[in-house]
Subunit: 535 residues, 2 copies
Amino acid sequence: MAGIFDQDLGRNEANFAPISPLSFIERAAEVYPQRTAVVHGSLRRTWAETYARCRQLASALTNAGLGKGDTVAVMLPNTPPMVEAHFGIPMAGAVLNALNTRLDAEAIAFMLDHGEAKLVIVDPEFAPVMDRALALRQSKRELRVIDAEAGYEDFIAAGDPGFAWQLPADEWDAIALNYTSGTTGNPKGVVYHHRGAAINAISNILEWDMPKHPVYLWTLPMFHCNGWCFPWAIAARAGVNVCLRKVEAQAIIDAIKAHGVTHYCGAPIVHGMLVNAPDELKQGLPAGVKAMVAGAAPPASLIEGMEKLGFDLTHVYGLTEVYGPATACAKHEEWDGLDIGERARLNARQGVRYHLQRSARVIDPQTMQPVAMDGETMGEIMFRGNITMKGYLKNPKATAEAFAGGWYHTGDLAVQFPDGYIKIKDRSKDIIISGGENISSIEVEDVLYRHPDVLAAAVVAKPDPKWGETPCAFVELKAGSALTAEELVAHCRKHLAGFKVPKAVVFGELPKTSTGKIQKVELRKKAGSAAAIDV
Amino acid sequence: MAGIFDQDLGRNEANFAPISPLSFIERAAEVYPQRTAVVHGSLRRTWAETYARCRQLASALTNAGLGKGDTVAVMLPNTPPMVEAHFGIPMAGAVLNALNTRLDAEAIAFMLDHGEAKLVIVDPEFAPVMDRALALRQSKRELRVIDAEAGYEDFIAAGDPGFAWQLPADEWDAIALNYTSGTTGNPKGVVYHHRGAAINAISNILEWDMPKHPVYLWTLPMFHCNGWCFPWAIAARAGVNVCLRKVEAQAIIDAIKAHGVTHYCGAPIVHGMLVNAPDELKQGLPAGVKAMVAGAAPPASLIEGMEKLGFDLTHVYGLTEVYGPATACAKHEEWDGLDIGERARLNARQGVRYHLQRSARVIDPQTMQPVAMDGETMGEIMFRGNITMKGYLKNPKATAEAFAGGWYHTGDLAVQFPDGYIKIKDRSKDIIISGGENISSIEVEDVLYRHPDVLAAAVVAKPDPKWGETPCAFVELKAGSALTAEELVAHCRKHLAGFKVPKAVVFGELPKTSTGKIQKVELRKKAGSAAAIDV
């Protein structure tokens, strides 16, 4: 028998609405119609204008026959149409598939086929790749291609700026499809729902204590986990999206100065661009800018450099499957008094669950029991809660594996400290096994980063006839450095057990993904045959 | 046929969790265990301690046989057990029924019977009323009574501080029961769910740009719409609950100074206590304290007074049925340059929907069409969205009426301005009809408040043989004022059409509810027979 609190107290239109980030732009346009929403070069658009354009896009898509569950792909840099795509496409009930603009034609063709896109919006910059991708498609499905400049403007001009879009019938409905970069095999299509997109957007605001009307600089690609859900977060705060086609030191610094940027995100390399920029460029940067870093733990040199700029750096960690950031290394006042080495050690941790995520825990994948919080026992980082994908598109096997035991399995190996903070020891594939001993490549990289001449470093396994594997270091030095491999190895010896010291060092620029992550898969190939300086 | 985004992409434990404010205290205790959660007199408790006590309470309730859907009533001032009740009771699956501590024994007895409470926690201050209420109960149901001091400590001491409480099976499950004050007929039991409680708590944070670790002073009774959901909001921010048994100027000012209070809420009378306190008391108050005011629009004198203190006042509006605040008079930078009269006029509006509420609109209750946003066309304020009650307990008829047409009907009459801001013209019952003309009592009150000698004012209908009704003003003057009824009426004549000018003025202290609202029902009784000074 239902209790008294379950009788005649059901859902109706008055007391229930699907949770969706589309409500955020609606409110921004209602309450702050004249505030700036988008800045791009000399272009300025208000929230009223941006909302009207999103409704036009939704209307035009609807008129073109697109609706619930249809995929609309985009291949766009961080320009205004990319902001609009995050609202206009789901307003039509469709699903936004933002393609990684650094991918080759084969990968794009696979995604267009697999995601069953019916329409794709392409920036002229990527038209050549898209042309090749279209030629490579296997599917016979009709795919309409819209150029992001004139073609897009014509397309939306035919749409109704007062279009009466609807919230999704169910907050569990898909809002976006994001393909994982996939180091092995075909990319997997991660599906986000409206509920999770809205909840992660709010979590971003909570993590950053982000006040109304932030000025957000788009250094993080919006194709990357939907820009960690920040297009929606900025709408919820009626903030400014400062668009940026190319992520370069000069452009970033100019934008921060010109628009009074208050917040931005990026991989360590983005922050490194700022820290390592010439002093004359950095003159006049405002203090107090808040930055989020993910993709790798920020080394001490970066934390120090950001402090010198007067910037406030928050370290977050996540994956495509958890909408971008899903843990944050939440700071404590007590840390402020510690020396830089200790602060860097604390901040290098992946931290604690994001605000509105249900749980982040290091778990033994065999027993599915949480590991002891002793900073030593290894396990796998697992998540559960509303900031976790619906699953992988058309891949029930991968979905079931990812969610085995009622937790999302990240594949990242970690420990959990007594304060509950998680620290990645290695991605499973990044462990180097030398003479039967496990070596954490991250531990070795941390030591390399401590050397003042090191700009970037990555350590992978190199096949070895005697030890099975040995650590091989790939190192990018700062301009003007004359550091030798021997000197760097001597530095490592001071901080590492002998078997962990790199047995080979390769100097040169490191291969990076479009999001600034070092491509270890490329380095592993090189390590098998590289002209490494054996030491 | 289901689309590709609905195949094999369902909910599971990994990717779905019920939304509940209980997750907030869990995270506060995990991430910030050593931060202060509760201050009361010399008592300090951390979030780890508070969370452990809440789990003990939940465990003790479970051991006492209470579970899902059982009602646990409390009659408590803003003391630590009241904070704990907001978590420990729902952690046991039970429903918190916070009783208005100013009510008489008859009303309390009705609520205990109607809400089917199985246990009640009572502060010694209210034991005499509770004793009478228990004697007046009609129900034969067993009701366990626990004294909030020694009895409560013994009760929770038997509970397990590591109790493995569960989130609700469904986020739609009830978390709280709040009786409306009910000016006519029996009080109605408004039922809140976990989803709405969490979402309004987050909305409070968004509205106030509330950063982590606020110091929140409990001037607003927690029995009032669960303190507008702030017990949950403060947990979400790992802030400090500064408890306060009695709301008095000296105590408020002392607490603000002693604990570095950053935020507090209350009816205009609470803010008035601060503004009108002697200067020597106000010396040393910190600047930048954020205050929310509801219950009545803040008059210009209050806005000016708060500005002089350097406090930042936000005007919000709501009702029990919408979890407390459900609109906010969101400010705009452009307003800062306006003169005080104009700013007061703008801020006196009820404003726009709360952040995560779906919609707030002035609607013609006959046609259910939104009224023109012209600042003139009257309609009824209506809400829809997740910050709206489940309904009225055991009252399907009242629930259906309240939700007629898919909107929650507030009964408040208002206009909507071209900027979308809502302005209450009158509660339906507050309209005075004089010679066939409608008079808004609020309009007359606004004029009275503009007189510098007026501390508080209320206008009600007085029966009149010729006009049917005429406006009768009840006015509380500031200390030392020698204002006469004639002078006040002359002031009104300058600002009001003749038929709106009060035909009678009564000086004296105004009767107020426990939440600081003027009790117009009492004044209406008086107006029928009062020794009013007819003018």
